[in-house]
Symmetry: C2
DNA sequence: CGCTCCATTGATCCAGCTCAAGCTAAGTGG
DNA sequence: CCACTTAGCTTGAGCTGGATCAATGGAGCG
């Protein structure tokens, strides 16, 4: 998906691969701007990397925090399960996401891969110590978490106050805008979404049957097509309108506008 | 509500009142453990404090970030509005909450006071610079945001996958456990909740009529009573069961278990 | 080839919404 | 002190969006 981005970052730098996770977190520019002391500290840490196959549970809700992951490539999702087996997908994550970090001692969500995923990882306590030594990293972490919180808030609003059709259109808009850098601008686009309708349902609080019906209706209307994991947005404007966005939310999209002018 | 806690913190310290916001953020213990350099930096910053009356909008969704607030006492809530006027309350906040912080340039939610609120505040850019100078503060911020994200995730799961009755019971359990230090333990308790049924509905994605009916049913069952802003939990066990919790979620409750052993 | 997972379509049902109306209580101004 | 207003609570009746149940049809895969 956005492996392209990873490769760029990797090829643009001459850092040893043990710092890949770090780079994903703070970005190449911030890394180059680091003061020498901090840079040395951060570079001294070796991040393990590993590939996890698709459809695997990386950790479960309730597990003790042992590891912090930075997703380098591939798709995964975070979820919570209820006693009766119902599942809520909290969000879909891909390149750059920080996973497994949190204030309390246990993970409050599970993580499952969708496609094969490359991850960088660090023992939790080591990561913890590291952010105490590097303000730049600490700020990046705060920002990552804040981004994710913002996404959670948008998602909550959809679940609580939007109809099924709006939720689905909204999710598509979100995924397109997060996975492509230019998808937002174009009238139409084509994009591989490795997720099932069941996952869409679990993310949006809908049954898979209903998701299917509504995707069908959106297709009938000529707004999108979605089959065999290939999504085509045929009419961006109509889709955004279906999502009930447009006016609002345009506010919070951009990345880190505030550089830290220390 | 938990003014008690504030007062404790204030009286236990001999710090000038300009640091109140800071103390709420990082806690008294962490403050005393600070290394001298960092402590001096943090103490050099004067936080303004101010009282905002109940029922006021502090900032709107979409407003530029200008100020970071730390809520010292009182109740408020964060919300998002849709084009058609529907409102989603993201969460209720009270003493200790960090508000208005985020990675993007504009606030993604609005903030409205419920009761009169005392807040400590700092210009956004100044706060930004400050966390760049103090890893301890940066970590606190990351943890605050992470706590809030965790709450958002729980809330999302309720909205997406739980029935109205479970959502309402769950919200009550959450509020009781967040506002009291011992309410969790007792079989029954009494507590002033300054929120309306309309707010409960907007938080849980329900109509106020439905909230009313279900509160009535929970009262009929002898689980709670709620009138004139006074909530009584009569049967804690039954309430928790109604919420469909118990097994899960016990995991993520405690505060900061990981001290930074640098 | 058979298994399993997912998508699709139809039929039925119900939780929660909407609309409507009356009630209570706290202001508020004369 | 009372009339009037306003905001929130309560209750009833009917409707509907989306769930549930059931059955069928691919499609990858061991």
């Amino acid at each position: 998906m956005n492996n392209a981005r990873d490769c760029q970052i990797l090829s643009a730098s001459n850092v040893n691969s043990g710092s890949t996770g770090l780079l994903q977190l703070i970005g190449l520019k911030a890394f180059n701007d680091l003061d020498p002391v901090e840079k040395e500290r951060l570079e001294g840490v070796h991040w393990a990397t590993k590939v996890i196959h698709g459809g695997r549970t990386v950790f479960d809700q309730g597990d003790d925090r042992q590891t912090v992951y930075v997703l380098l490539s591939g798709w995964a999702f975070r979820y919570q399960l209820l006693a009766d087996g119902k599942r809520q997908i909290l969000d879909f994550v891909f390149g750059g996401s920080l996973l497994g970090f949190g204030a309390c001692g246990a993970n409050c969500y599970g993580l499952e891969t969708v496609t094969d995923c490359k991850v960088a990882l660090l023992p939790y306590m080591q990561f913890r110590r590291l952010i105490g030594l590097s303000p730049t990293l600490a700020i990046s972490v705060a920002e990552r978490v804040s981004d994710s919180e913002t996404r959670a808030h948008e998602h909550m609003t959809s679940l609580g106050r939007r109809a099924a059709r709006e939720r689905i259109a909204g999710l598509i808009v979100e995924l397109v805008s997060r996975t492509t850098s230019d998808g937002l601008a174009k009238h139409s686009c084509r994009l591989e979404l490795p997720i099932t309708q069941i996952m869409i349902g679990d993310a949006l609080g809908l049954s898979n049957e209903h998701v299917c019906r509504i995707l069908g209706k959106l297709a009938d209307a000529g707004t999108i097509s979605f089959s065999r994991n290939v999504l085509q947005v045929l009419d961006k404007g109509a889709l955004v309108q279906e999502a009930g966005l447009e006016a609002e939310d345009s506010a919070c999209r951009a990345g880190n506008e505030f550089a830290v002018a220390a």
